[in-house]
């Protein structure tokens, strides 16, 4: 299974693979040590700093392309060891890169989309750092972004579970740092920092599952290497099925954390506190798909454990529907996309759960394109609005229009938008492409990948098929709602009225991503002769990489339902109707037209089914109370103050006092003193005998001798 040397022909660049990590690391080190000075001294400083970071990501992409080319000639891939890591006895973990079609697919997505987002971020962060009032943080952003690329590359390229885990936690760290990038902003000034912490801690819960899986893997297989484990897996499935079940379920816990599935998805919506390029790169296109990659990578274990497959599919498909419904009730442009991401991740997880690994990976790739596109475009919209707001604020004539909401203007609230179609043409068009791709309308990329998942589900997992189709209906609905609210109708705020299109450095990556979102489906059309992607993955996944079928009924049904849903959205939110709705005085107007029809349900959607509140009540507050109780009452008041200070120290003090006063002073001391007094009194008398006259002494001696002699003689 695993070849240290190439056996086929063609150009071969496998040994370059460590550079996919080294380039970003070099980039970040450069920016750490020189970036600050460059920013201070040079007027083009931002371009240099951002450029170096983008170049680092770009070189990483270049290496990934070279690897892909090499794989064409040597599809079996190669393992490139770099160094030992942890070696104890039979435990042997090394830094080694696995180049195969699956990992290279991920590398291409990560570095490709990553590079585009880096370039976009040069423009976006230029404004963002000024808007948030700390231009010096420009450098830090790119350091973190490069760190993320490095960590993500470690994740996807490791040849063993532990190296994967290093990347897994590394991207979690970057996620933490970038969500909390504006750590002094957000609700009460601490909101962003709290969101970051929430993401990290929630992910750690998932990592806990991963760790347990890792322990079991080691003590079952004696190694962490993918190849060795997969080779032994069939034997183990017979000998020790419990271990495999435990491993797969624990890995699933890890997946729910990282890929934001039920029940650990709660961190992802909050993660939108990060700058928009971060949301696009980390929280849509790459990091959150790590869970999908993990299941696909572990395909050969999962196919052996049908129970685990069932659970993965269940988690994925329920999440897909669950999150899609919540997305309908959101007003924050990024929150809608966040829930959409959770939902789409649910599609992928369900796909890899039911064994449709190619479909899952396919959707991962197309989703990376169109969701990155959507997020980046939403960033463009937000900044367009901010520019408009800025313009209005600094124009005395226009400033009057601002009325009350001058300071608490929220550029992410879709209710503050409207009519941007005219003012931001490029953004509008690319956004539309992304939305259609996401809604699953043919022939855009999203249709093909989603349809492949649905087709696979329809064959064996009818319940999953139902759930996913419902989710797809909601998807089309909330995207229609978003497009209509943001881009159509009249501008509802002065800021939207004066919104400005973003510069080329921002729009160029958008256009590239739009093209990819449009044509991305071509890599794996479900027709014979077009299954390139499936064949590509076949080299890694072997028999489990079955090419997708085209089931006309499924395709027609899903497209039809999407169109119906789209029409429903149009009916509810079309510009004319929405303007009428908006004309109702604010006091009587509900927040959304949908509320008039499904009031209480809408309230539940808007509040995300109160899951956050539930977690607070069930887990967080009890833990906080418990830790306070342990710290204040048990450890300090009871153990430290009462037991040690009162019982031991106080008891000892009491005992010593008892000994000192009663026993020592009252007994021993008193006896000793009494003896002294007695002696003194006796001496008082006796001293009179001692006259000091020698003669008296001599006489008494004489008398004494006489007495003794008398006694001796007379006895």
């Amino acid at each position: 299974m695993f070849f240290e040397e190439a056996v086929s022909s063609g150009p071969q660049f496998f040994n370059l693979v460590p550079w996919i990590v080294f380039f970003p690391v070099i980039g970040l080190l450069f920016n750490i040590f020189f970036g600050g000075r460059i920013l201070e001294r040079s007027r083009a400083g931002e371009k240099i700093v951002g450029g170096v970071a983008s170049l680092a990501a770009g070189l990483s992409f270049l290496v990934s392309v070279l690897l892909a080319i090499s794989l064409n000639g040597h599809p079996e891939g190669m393992v490139v060891p770099l160094a030992d890591w942890i070696n104890i006895g039979e435990l042997n973990i090394r830094w080694a890169f696995q180049v195969d079609t699956l990992s290279v697919t991920m590398m291409l997505v990560v570095s490709g989309v990553g590079t585009l987002i880096h370039i976009y971020a040069i423009g976006y962060m230029h404004e963002d750092v000024r808007h948030n009032g700390d231009p010096g943080r420009f450098r830090r952003f790119f350091v973190f972004m490069n760190l993320f690329i490095a960590a993500m590359m470690i994740l996807v390229s490791g040849d063993n579970y532990m190296m994967l885990f290093v990347g897994w936690e590394g991207v979690g760290l970057c996620s933490y740092l970038l969500i909390g990038f504006w750590y002094e902003k957000g609700k009460d000034g601490i909101g962003n920092a709290l969101a970051a912490k929430k993401a990290m801690v929630t992910n750690r819960i998932g990592d806990f599952g991963f760790l347990l899986a890792a322990f079991t893997i080691f003590w079952t297989f004696g190694t962490f290497k993918f190849h060795a484990i997969f080779e032994k897996a069939p034997e183990v499935a017979v000998a020790n099925p419990g271990a495999l079940l435990f491993i797969t379920i624990c890995l699933l816990i890890g997946v729910t954390g990282k890929s934001a599935q039920l029940p650990l998805y709660v961190w992802l919506p909050d993660a939108m506190a990060g700058p928009t390029p971060v949301s696009a790169l980390i929280h849509a296109a790459t990091m959150v798909t790590a869970g999908v990659y993990l299941v696909a990578r572990s395909a050969e274990i999962y196919v052996l454990v049908p129970t685990a497959q069932f659970w993965v599919t269940l988690v994925g498909s329920v999440t897909a529907l669950f999150a899609a419904t919540i997305a309908v009730g959101q007003f924050d442009i990024k929150k809608v996309l966040a829930y959409s991401t959770i939902s789409q991740l649910g599609f992928m997880v369900a796909a890899v759960g039911m064994g449709a690994f190619v479909a899952g990976m396919f959707h991962l790739v197309t989703h990376a394109f169109f969701k990155a596109l959507l997020f980046l475009s939403s960033g463009s919209v937000i900044q367009g609005l901010e520019r408009g707001h800025h313009h209005v604020e600094h124009d005395p004539k226009l400033k009057k229009q601002l009325k009350g909401h001058a300071h608490d203007f929220d550029p992410q609230d879709m209710r503050n938008m409207g009519g941007l179609r005219e003012r931001m043409k490029i953004t509008y068009w690319v956004y539309l492409i992304g939305a259609i791709a996401l809604a699953g309308i043919p022939p855009l990329a999203g249709f093909w990948s989603k349809d492949e998942i649905l087709a696979d589900a329809s064959k064996e997992f009818s319940w999953a098929y139902t759930l996913l189709t419902l989710a797809a209906i909601f998807t089309a609905f909330y995207m229609t709602r978003q497009i209509l609210m943001v881009f159509f109708g009249k501008a509802r705020t002065p800021a939207a009225e004066h919104a400005e299109e973003s510069p080329l450095v921002v729009t160029a990556p958008l256009m590239i991503l739009a093209v990819l979102s449009f044509f991305g489906g071509l890599i794996n059309l479900p027709f014979d002769g077009f299954h390139q992607f499936a064949h590509w993955l076949e080299h890694t996944l072997g028999e489990y990489a079955h090419p997708g079928e085209f089931i006309l009924v499924v395709a027609l049904l899903s497209t039809g339902l999407a169109l119906v849903s789209l029409a429903l959205g149009w009916w509810l939110y079309n510009p004319r109707r929405y303007e009428e709705f908006w004309a109702i005085p604010a006091a009587r107007r509900p927040d959304d037209p949908l509320r008039s029809y499904i009031g209480p349900i809408y309230e539940a959607l808007k509040n995300k089914y109160w899951v956050d509140e539930l977690y607070w009540a069930v887990f967080l507050n009890p833990y906080i109370d418990l830790s306070r109780f342990l710290a204040d009452v048990i450890d300090w008041r009871f153990w430290h103050d009462w037991f040690h200070d009162r019982v031991i120290m106080g008891g000892y003090n009491l005992l010593t006092r008892l000994l000192a006063i009663r026993i020592d002073l009252g007994g021993i001391d008193a006896a000793a003193n009494g003896l002294a007094v007695l002696t003194q009194r006796v001496a008082e008398r006796l001293r009179q005998v001692q006259t000091g006259y020698v003669r008296n002494y001599a006489l008494s001696i004489f008398v004494g001798v006489v007495i003794i002699l008398g006694y001796l003689l007379l006895r």
């Binding site: 030992d84 942890i86 936690e169 760790l211 833990y623 342990l630 450890d635 430290h640």
Partner: protein, 511 residues
């Protein structure tokens, strides 16, 4: 004469007693010559570190037994002989290096923090180093006991003279607690000496043959001394007091080295001397370790004083070390020893970091900070790295230790293993989540959010001295995290030998 000189120039004798040279020089200084005292202490401790590198250079990592041995008669009484017996092996070499590294770092950290009676401070510090190094090198139980008790005295004065407001209370508590445990150990040492006829550890191990039920009592007597020092739950009550009141350098040494003396004691004495008892009591020790991990983490979370938070986190981290040691397999024990080093580096660095902000703000209340990253970016970034290392992020040192410990204890939890249940490792792994919770809370409260207090607005970022103080620790944090092989290689043969002996005991212990 020649042979005396020869004995004196042994690397181990030199590294143990070289700080006394500095002590002698400082004794001739005047109290006002503060800088001179500092420089002498720093240079002495740096030379001592150099000498420990010499020890490392002579060290043969593939040899499992004691090396560079000095074994001279010292106090012969009747048929017993107390010997001056120093030696180093895979179990102690890393701790020796850690001690000699942390001492100069701590001295450097006091450069401006201690202005009062500098001469005395440096004297005590160098004396402390003699004691600590001696503890890790002594192979004669009596000699070990002397070094062990000797460390108490300088530390008592370091806390009691240069400590915080409740320093006398803390110093006395620290002293009495450790003494109380040591007495039992002394009794056990005397028992061994009288009934086994030797005080030399290798002789005692070779002789063996202590009946199982007696082993348990002796094990417990030794454990009493070590468990208090570690400290294992529930004997940790002295730790927060001592840490909070101790001066920064004292806290660094206390956390970095003195606590390790406890865990080291378990590895060096309890496991090889009483293997059957170790196997029998392993589940109980593991229970205490797991409780310590979870309890320490939960209690840390509720602290307001950042130094207290770090102190309680030590309870949690040392719980991991104990769990690893009592997994009784090579992964667990090697991970445990590495985690001792890791904890010394990370927690030592955390105490340095707390000391740096305390020097600027004279408070350790986390609510008094907020937004420091913006004011002090270098400080923030370095703290972040150290904090991540402490919470066990892969790629940094904490993870390597914690992971191998958990892996080892999971393996020990297999049916027939010393622990016999996966619950130990499973529950301990929750500690990894909880560690993230309290560490991130600390980082958030101190460094994130807006700057709300005016006193914090104009704080100066770290100066070069402070960066240099942290730099060696940071380098090691990355080194161990990314390429721990050289560290594992040093200890592997010794640990393998120990584990093999324990395996035999398992087999022998089964009736």
């Amino acid at each position: 004469m020649n042979s005396l000189l020869n004995n004196l120039l042994q690397p181990l004798t030199l590294v143990t007693f070289f700080p006394l040279v500095g002590v002698l020089i400082i004794l001739f200084l005047k109290q006002e010559q503060k800088n001179a005292a500092r420089w002498v202490a720093l240079i002495t401790s740096l030379i001592t570190f150099g000498l420990s590198l010499v020890v490392l250079a002579y060290f043969n990592p593939s040899y499992p037994d004691l090396q560079e041995v000095i074994n001279l008669p010292w106090i012969p009484i009747a048929q017993w002989e107390i010997r001056y017996y120093l030696g180093v092996d895979g179990l102690s070499i890393l701790l020796l290096l850690l001690t000699t590294l942390l001492t100069p770092i701590s001295i450097l950290s006091t450069w401006t923090a201690v202005e009062d009676r500098v001469k005395d401070f440096m004297l005590f510090f160098l004396l402390l180093e003699v004691g600590m190094v001696g503890v890790f090198l002594a192979q004669d139980l009596f000699l070990f006991y002397i070094f062990w008790e000797f460390t108490l005295v300088p530390m008592y004065f370091l806390i009691g003279i240069w400590g915080g407001p409740r320093r006398m209370y803390a110093a006395v508590k620290f002293f009495l607690y450790t003494m109380a445990g040591s007495i039992l150990m002394l009794l056990a040492i005397l028992w061994l000496g009288i009934y086994q006829g030797s005080f030399q550890v290798p002789d005692l191990i070779a002789k063996g043959g202590i009946p199982a039920n007696l082993q348990i009592w002796l094990f417990l007597a030794f454990a009493a001394a070590f468990a208090i020092k570690v400290p294992m739950w529930p004997l940790h009550s002295w730790l927060p007091d001592a840490h909070v009141e101790a001066p920064t350098a004292g806290s660094v040494i206390l956390a970095g080295v003195l606590l390790k003396m406890g865990t080291y004691g378990f590895v060096r004495f309890n496991l090889p001397l009483f293997p059957q008892a170790a196997v029998q009591l392993a589940p109980w020790m593991a229970v205490l370790a797991v409780i310590g991990i979870l309890y320490g983490a939960a209690v840390s979370y509720a602290q307001k004083d950042v130094k207290k938070l770090v102190a309680y986190s030590s309870v949690s981290h040392l719980g991991f070390v104990m769990l690893g040691i009592f997994a009784l397999n090579s992964q667990g024990v090697q991970g445990g020893i590495l985690q001792m080093v890791n904890h010394g580096l990370s927690t030592g660095a955390l105490f340095l970091i707390v000391g740096m902000i305390y020097e600027r703000r004279h408070t350790r209340d986390m609510d008094a900070f907020g937004g420091l990253w913006k004011v002090m970016p270098i400080y923030g970034a370095l703290t972040l790295i150290v904090a991540l290392s402490s919470m066990g992020l892969p790629g940094l040192n904490g993870f390597v230790g914690e992971f191998t410990i958990l892996l080892g204890s999971w393996g020990a939890g297999q049916p027939g293993g010393p622990l016999g249940s996966h619950w130990y490792a499973g529950l301990a792994a929750i500690g990894v989540i909880l560690a993230a919770v309290y560490i991130l809370l600390m980082f958030q409260k101190m460094f994130l959010g807006p700057v709300t207090k005016d006193e914090n607005r104009n704080l100066k970022d770290l100066n070069w001295r402070e960066i240099i103080t942290l730099l060696p620790l940071l380098i090691l944090i990355f080194w161990i995290g990314l390429y721990p092989k050289p560290f594992f290689v040093l200890m592997a043969p010794a640990v393998d030998k120990l584990v093999a002996a324990l395996q035999t005991a398992v087999v022998a212990g089964v009736p």
